[in-house]
Amino acid sequence: MNALALDPRLTAQLTFRMRPALEFVPSGVAALDALTGGLPRGAITDLYGPASSGRTSLLLSILAGATGREEVCALVDSSDALDPSSAASAGVNLERLLWVRCAANPEHALKAVDLLIQGGGFGLVALDLGDVPPQIARRIPLATWYRLRRAIEDTPAALVVVEREPTLKSCASLILEMQREEVAWSGSAGCSELLRGARLAAMPRKPVRQQTAAFDARAVEAAEKVRGQAEACPTRPLNSLTCRAGHASACPLRASGRTFSAASLG
C-alpha cells in the first residue's frame, strides 16, 4: 500500500521535464546580441578569458543595460575588484546595483549568489570569479553549478559568471570566450602617449558559432581626463590633446589638484 501511495510522487520527480524555450535579454553589445540573441534568462552565462581580455568591460555593459531597463542587479565580487567609477562611466545605475564584496572568498561568493537567487526579484546576478586562480575555481564542485542552474531555472534572472577558464561545463547555457584583439594607444612614443581603448572579441563556445562579436572599449580615464582638462582650461587650444611644458605651469587646474605633470610633457 505504501509503495503504491508513494508511486505518483516518485514518478512525478522522475518524469522527464521539458525545459521551456529560453528568453533572451540584450547584453548591451549590439554585435554580441546579433550573434547570440543576447543573454538567456533563467540560465547561466559563462564569460571566461585571461586577464585584460575584456570580461569586466562586457560585464559592465551588461549591467548598464540591465539597470537601464530598471532591473535590480547584484554583483557578487569574490575579489573585491569592482571599480565603481568604471561602472558609473559604463552607464551602470549604481543605485540599482547591489554589490557584495567577498574579500577573496569564493565559498562566500557562491553562498551569496545562492541567497540572492533564492530571494528572487533580481533581473541579473553576476558572479565575478575573474581573479580567482583556475586551480581554485576548478575545485568548486560541479554539483554546486548544477544546483545554481536548477535554482535559477524558473526565475526571470540571468546569472553571469566571470572567470579565467571555463569550469561550468554543461551547466552554462551560453559560454563566451573573451579575447583582446588589440590595444589602441595614441600620441607620440615616449611623450604624451594615451591609452585610448581596446578592441575586444567575444567568441561563443556554446552554442558554437564561427563568427566572433568584436566591439571597442574606450579607456575612460585617460581620454576623458585629457578632454575634460582641455575643455576646462582656458589657456589651452581645444583641438590639441598634446601637452606643452609651458601650459602645465599656467594651467589653472593645477590649483584643484587635477593638472598635468610638467615632467611628463617633455
Partner: protein
C-alpha cells in the same frame, strides 16, 4: 445616556485626575474642555442601577480624588455638558431643569449673543420657545443649531480621546538565558503580540528596539532600522535573530523588552509592465543573511564621493530606488579591476619611466606605456595624495595602471584593465 463631569476652575495639575476619574467608569471618554469630560454611561445602568446612581458613584469617586465636581446625566453629550456647567451637584437633566439654564452656556458667537440679549432671551427655555422658522430667517443655520442645543436635542457623537497606544512588550525571566535559541522563542512571542497590536491599529513599524537586561546589571540594546514599514512577525524574528547572531549579548539575559515605532504602513501601486523587483521583506532578509556571511560593510550599493581622490566611494544601504536616475548605455568602456589594497611593486624605471614591473602575482617587461598623469589633492589634510599614474602593457599580456606615490616615492599597481 451620557454623563458629564465638570470641575469649575480646576488647577492644571488636577486635570489628569479628572480624566482618570472618568476612565474609572468608561473607556469612551471625551475631553470636552480641560475642565469638563463627557462619557457614555449607556451600559453602566446594568451595573449601578439608575442613571442617578451612576452620577452619584462618579461624584464619590471625584471626591476621593479631591475634585469638587458637578455631575450631570442627559440623553445626549451636549445636554450633559450644559447641565454639568450650569447646575451644581448631581443632576439628571430634565426638560424643566434644562429650561432654566443661562443662554450664555451655549457659547454663541458675539453677534448672535448680542441679538439674543436685545430680544431679552436669558434662558434655554425662552430660546427654545421661539419659532424655528423665524430663528432660521434671522440668525441663519448656526442659530437653528444653537436652538436645537437649547431644546436638548443635540445629536452629535462622542469624540473619545484615547491615549496614544504604546507598542512595547517586555518579559522578566525567572532565570537567566545563556543561549540565543531559547531567547528567540521568547522574541517570537513578544513579536507576535507586538505585531498583532500594530495590526489592530492599522499601523506598521520601521524601527524595532530590543533591550536586553543582563545578569551583570548591564543592558544590551539593538535597534533594527528598516527601509520601509513592516509588521511581519516572522520576518522581524529572522532579522533580530541574524542581528543577535552577529552582535550577541555579553552576559546572560534576565529580561527582554521590545518596542516598535508606529508608522503608517507602506502603500505601493504595482504596475503590470514594470520589471520584477525583489519583495522588500525578502530582500531585507537576504541582505541580513549575506551581511552575516561577508560582514555588514561589504553589502550595499556603491556611491561615488564628490572628490577627485582616486577610487573614492562609500557603501550605502541598498534600497529599492524608485524614480531614481535611469542608467543608460554609454557604450563600451574599458573597465578597471582594482586591487584592494594596491599592490606594492618593484619597478625598474631608468629615466623615470617604468621598464620592468614586479609585484605579487605580476611580473613583466613594459612593452608600451602612457603617462605620467600627475594627480594630487587634499593637500590641507593628513591623507593628502600626490601621484604619477601610468598605463602600461606588460609582457604577461595584461594592461595595468601603475602609480608612483610622490610622497613615499614608492610604486604601486592600482589595478588591471579588463
Amino acid at each position: 445616556m451620557f454623563a458629564s463631569i465638570h470641575v469649575p476652575e480646576i488647577a492644571p495639575e488636577r486635570r489628569a485626575r479628572l480624566l482618570e476619574c472618568a476612565r474609572d467608569f468608561s473607556p469612551w471618554v471625551e475631553q470636552t474642555t480641560p475642565d469638563t469630560v463627557t462619557l457614555d454611561i449607556g451600559s453602566l445602568t446594568h451595573l449601578f442601577g439608575s442613571p442617578r446612581n451612576v452620577a452619584e458613584a462618579m461624584a464619590r469617586r471625584a471626591a476621593e480624588l479631591e475634585l469638587a465636581a458637578n455631575v450631570a446625566v442627559a440623553a445626549n453629550p451636549d445636554a450633559a455638558v450644559h447641565g454639568a456647567r450650569g447646575l451644581t451637584g448631581i443632576v439628571v437633566v430634565s426638560e424643566k431643569e434644562a429650561g432654566l439654564l443661562a443662554v450664555e452656556l451655549l457659547e454663541a458667537p458675539p453677534e448672535i449673543a448680542a441679538t439674543l440679549a436685545m430680544w431679552g432671551i436669558r434662558t434655554f427655555g425662552e430660546f427654545a420657545a421661539l419659532p424655528e422658522d423665524g430663528i432660521a430667517e434671522r440668525l441663519g443655520p448656526l442659530g437653528v443649531h444653537l436652538q436645537k442645543l437649547a431644546r436638548g436635542a443635540g445629536n452629535r457623537p462622542l469624540k473619545p480621546a484615547n491615549p496614544p497606544p504604546a507598542f512595547e512588550e517586555s518579559f522578566d525571566l525567572e532565570y537567566p538565558l545563556t543561549l540565543l535559541e531559547p531567547l528567540s522563542f521568547l522574541l517570537a512571542r513578544l513579536l507576535g503580540a507586538l505585531c498583532a497590536r500594530l495590526d489592530s491599529h492599522g499601523l506598521a513599524t520601521h524601527e524595532l528596539r530590543l533591550r536586553l537586561k543582563l545578569e551583570n546589571g548591564g543592558a544590551h540594546e539593538r535597534t533594527l532600522r528598516l527601509p520601509f514599514p513592516m509588521r511581519d512577525a516572522k520576518a522581524f524574528l529572522k532579522l533580530l535573530s541574524l542581528d543577535l547572531d552577529g552582535h550577541p549579548p555579553p552576559a546572560p539575559v534576565t529580561a527582554v523588552s521590545l518596542s516598535a515605532e508606529p508608522v503608517n504602513p507602506r502603500v505601493v501601486q504595482h504596475g503590470l509592465f514594470l520589471p520584477p523587483t525583489p519583495e522588500p521583506q525578502k530582500l531585507e532578509l537576504t541582505l541580513a543573511r549575506i551581511a552575516k556571511l561577508v560582514g555588514e560593510g561589504n553589502v550595499g550599493a556603491p556611491e561615488l564621493l564628490d572628490t577627485h581622490r582616486p577610487g573614492a566611494f562609500r557603501m550605502k544601504r541598498f534600497t529599492l530606488a524608485r524614480n531614481g536616475r535611469v542608467g543608460g548605455q554609454v557604450g563600451g568602456r574599458l573597465a578597471l579591476r582594482v586591487f584592494r589594497p594596491a599592490l606594492h611593486a618593484q619597478v625598474a624605471a631608468p629615466n623615470g619611466r617604468p621598464a620592468q614591473v614586479e609585484a605579487r602575482g605580476v611580473r613583466g617587461r613594459v612593452l608600451q606605456m602612457a603617462g605620467p598623469w600627475h594627480t594630487s589633492g587634499d593637500w590641507w589634510r593628513a591623507d593628502a595624495w600626490s601621484r604619477d599614474e601610468w598605463d602600461v602593457a606588460l609582457s604577461d599580456g595584461a594592461l595595468y595602471r601603475l602609480y608612483r606615490d610622490r610622497h613615499g616615492k614608492e610604486w604601486f599597481i592600482e589595478g588591471r584593465y579588463d
